[in-house]
Symmetry: C2
Subunit: 457 residues, 2 copies
């Protein structure tokens, strides 16, 4: 028998980690709910016909595929078998794959249920996804995505709403962030203004790297991608404009219509966004591009302050996500939270409340068989009162029971001996201070309840 | 492009269903927590070496296997390929499988982390599992299991605790149940008393069917399984004993030690169990056997009252779950909740609270661009106050907005026109009664908050 292990790139989550992860998910969900979003869940397995071709060639390769059940070789592609051609064989022996992201299943869901859904449809979805990536630090083969989208409306109110969701969630988590926003139409307009509208993607790929490679690097990359000097100069001049206002003044009338449209959309978003002052810094960044090419309007990205980490969230407006599943002209806008990275930031900045992983409020300790049964009675009453409590399973030595109390990080113990059983006065001990008081059961409940109320519990 | 679909036997969960499912899971989790259990999560994918051979031949067949990534045929079993032998080929092209239950991954987890775990270890786990079963009504290929176990202690207190958990969860869900308990040692003792200890499994399989096939059927089945008439008579006489007390009086001294031990364990459980009166009926049923052969002590099964449905929960004491992963002599006891069946019972008996699927407390309705922006401001303030609220995304016709309010089952609307914007008095309308009141924003918050407090929200 070999030593038990788990596959590379996947994780067990122990109680303390589950508690911290739930602290993040609960904060996110509570904001989603207050904003009127509703949860859906889609299956782990999708038909490969749903998934394939949606994530590029790289994505197709990274899909986990499920071997058909039963005598799968009976329907296998004979030629591919003979040739030992893995790529070609796959489609004949695997019909299902694991969810690769939450976007495609959501689009599939909306297309399938278009007649029963009330639009605008505001949904959130927090589920794991799987990618056969090479595992490395911070990159897993199973990880949670946390998406929130509105489909079926063009209203810019939703862009503002989603940016406010970022603002509120990170405020709730006490994690200071910078929220960068831009509009893909402004990028398109920049390319057109520079006369390189056909080089739009080349330009955005270069501009997107400004943070990393500096303006010299961007210039070089644009040149390498065949964008002429003059065009580069125009693009640079637009990037240099200090504000949206300046962009509008200089390019609003004279520039390409799409640039003006992008600026106007930004203004529309701002109008709603600043109705109430956000907690975090929100920056217009004309170099922000976001990798995904399905974005067509406003785009957004979030970075944590005070810790070196890639973006911990991003999203934007898309014009056609469900078209590939036969439902045309459904505009949507959505954002995503990177739970694993948020977790790492919270750890790095020590932001998890001290008691997040506290699972027990009090441990009862009894010293013989008779008081043990009495203690179980007390335990039942504490639990009925909603106090998370436990009793050491047998009347063992005090030291052994105290060790268990410490290992489980219990803030209070309730010692129950013969004297306590007879008097009804229980010895409640604060494990941190060592202070011990004699209390009745109802008083113990009150004391513990107040403690619970003060915890993130 | 084909019509989008999902694989057979798996499900999308829409918001109303997610809400109802969470109502069940939340009730279960809240009880687990009060009882001092901690959550763990294990990965969706386990090594096939962990899973194979743990669920019998049938189980091995029903495991979903994941095709290795990359050029998987390069390492494939050449002979199996030539022979087109699917069964033989599998192990050379698939190393990972999907979680089949929560018990084996838990045992693997405990064995892997035995040095960091504090025993007794009280864990719960609520995650989906996958089985390549033929889909049929009420049987899915992806479904949630909901397990709670204590490992590392023999204390009978935990049997009582777990039975009390059943009692409390179903009380909380308002679903009346019958909880049947027995002990595998009593079954073993019955077989030994009848001189057919070697026919233990044959006997339990027959006895377990008493409910379905009656005593005549059980007699016939035992005979077919080679249990003689005399032995059957003895077994029947024990089954006929009205109480544990009677069983002890008649067989306690004279019978096989294992029978006495089983009765004594039952008494030990009862001692703790009845310290506080349970809400539901708890019945000692000597015919209860539970299919799984890893149970060695107390066993338990739950059935809903007033609805035809198989058991909605079950569990028991096992002596050696982690041995197969190299950790011997760890006794444990656990129970499981059948979430899908509980859901179906709750639906059949109409037990879900009316507002379980209510996602929105109030919808704001504005009539022109200026008031729409003002309404968004009001919306932000409502949300800051924790009221789940929304604003129709544009100042559309009243009828259209009211239809949206009804489709989203909103209990209140807040109508905001020019007059409301100027006076600061908002028109709050109860959508059920049609009553409309003029209130300030702080008053609206108070009113809505009271409403929220009254809901399961």
């Amino acid at each position: 028998m070999s030593k038990p292990s788990i596959p590379q790139g996947v994780r067990d989550f122990s109680p303390d980690v589950v508690a911290k992860r739930n602290y993040i998910f609960d904060a996110i969900k509570s904001v989603f709910k207050v904003y009127g979003f509703q949860p859906i869940e889609t299956p782990t397995m999708e038909n490969l016909s749903t998934l394939t071709g949606k994530y590029g060639e790289e994505g197709d390769r990274l899909l986990f595929k499920i071997l058909n059940s039963g005598d799968y070789l009976s329907k296998a592609d004979g030629q591919a078998l003979t040739d030992k051609n893995s790529t070609k064989l796959t489609s004949s022996i695997a019909e299902k794959g694991l969810r690769y992201d939450l976007t495609v299943p959501f689009a599939r869901y909306v297309a399938m249920r278009q007649n029963e859904i009330t639009f605008p449809f505001k949904r959130y979805q927090i589920q794991p996804v799987w990618r056969a990536d090479r595992p490395q630090k911070g990159r897993y083969r199973e990880f949670y995505q946390c998406d929130v989208d509105v489909v079926g409306s063009n209203s810019l109110m939703y862009e503002a709403e989603l940016i406010r969701i970022y603002d509120e969630v990170f405020q709730k988590l006490k994690l200071p962030v910078t929220i960068k926003i831009n509009n893909r139409k402004i990028l398109q307009g920049m390319a057109e203004a520079a006369g390189v509208g056909d080089r739009f993607l080349d330009m955005t790929i270069a501009v997107d790297k400004l943070d990393k490679i500096g303006i010299e690097g961007v210039r070089k990359e644009m040149a390498e991608r065949g964008i002429g000097e003059e065009a580069v100069a125009i693009i640079e001049s637009i990037l240099d404009l200090p504000t949206l206002e300046a962009m509008k003044t200089i390019w609003g009338e004279a520039g390409p219509p799409v640039l003006r449209q992008g600026v106007e959309e930004m203004e529309g978003v701002y109008k709603y966004l600043y109705v109430q002052k956000p907690h975090n810094e929100i920056i217009f960044d004309p170099t922000l591009a976001r990798g995904l090419n399905y974005y067509t309007g406003c785009i957004v990205e979030v970075k944590a302050k005070g810790v070196e980490m890639g973006s911990i969230g991003g999203g934007g407006r898309y014009d056609d996500l469900t078209g590939v599943f036969g439902l045309k002209n459904v505009s949507g806008v959505g954002i995503s939270f990177g739970a694993d990275r948020i977790y790492d930031c919270m750890e790095a900045l020590n932001l998890f409340p001290a008691n997040t992983d506290r699972s027990l409020q009090v441990l009862l300790i009894a010293f013989d068989a008779a008081t043990h049964l009495f203690a179980f009675d007390v335990l039942c009453q504490l639990r009925t009162a909603g106090i998370a409590s436990d009793l050491y399973p047998e009347p063992a030595k005090l030291q052994k029971q105290m060790k268990y109390a410490n290992d489980r990080k219990v803030p209070f113990t309730l010692l129950i001996g013969e004297e306590e059983r007879e008097s009804g006065l229980l010895a409640l001990k604060n494990m941190e201070t060592g202070v011990q008081v004699k209390v009745t059961l109802p008083d113990a409940v009150e004391l513990l309840r107040d403690e619970v109320a003060q915890m993130n519990f």
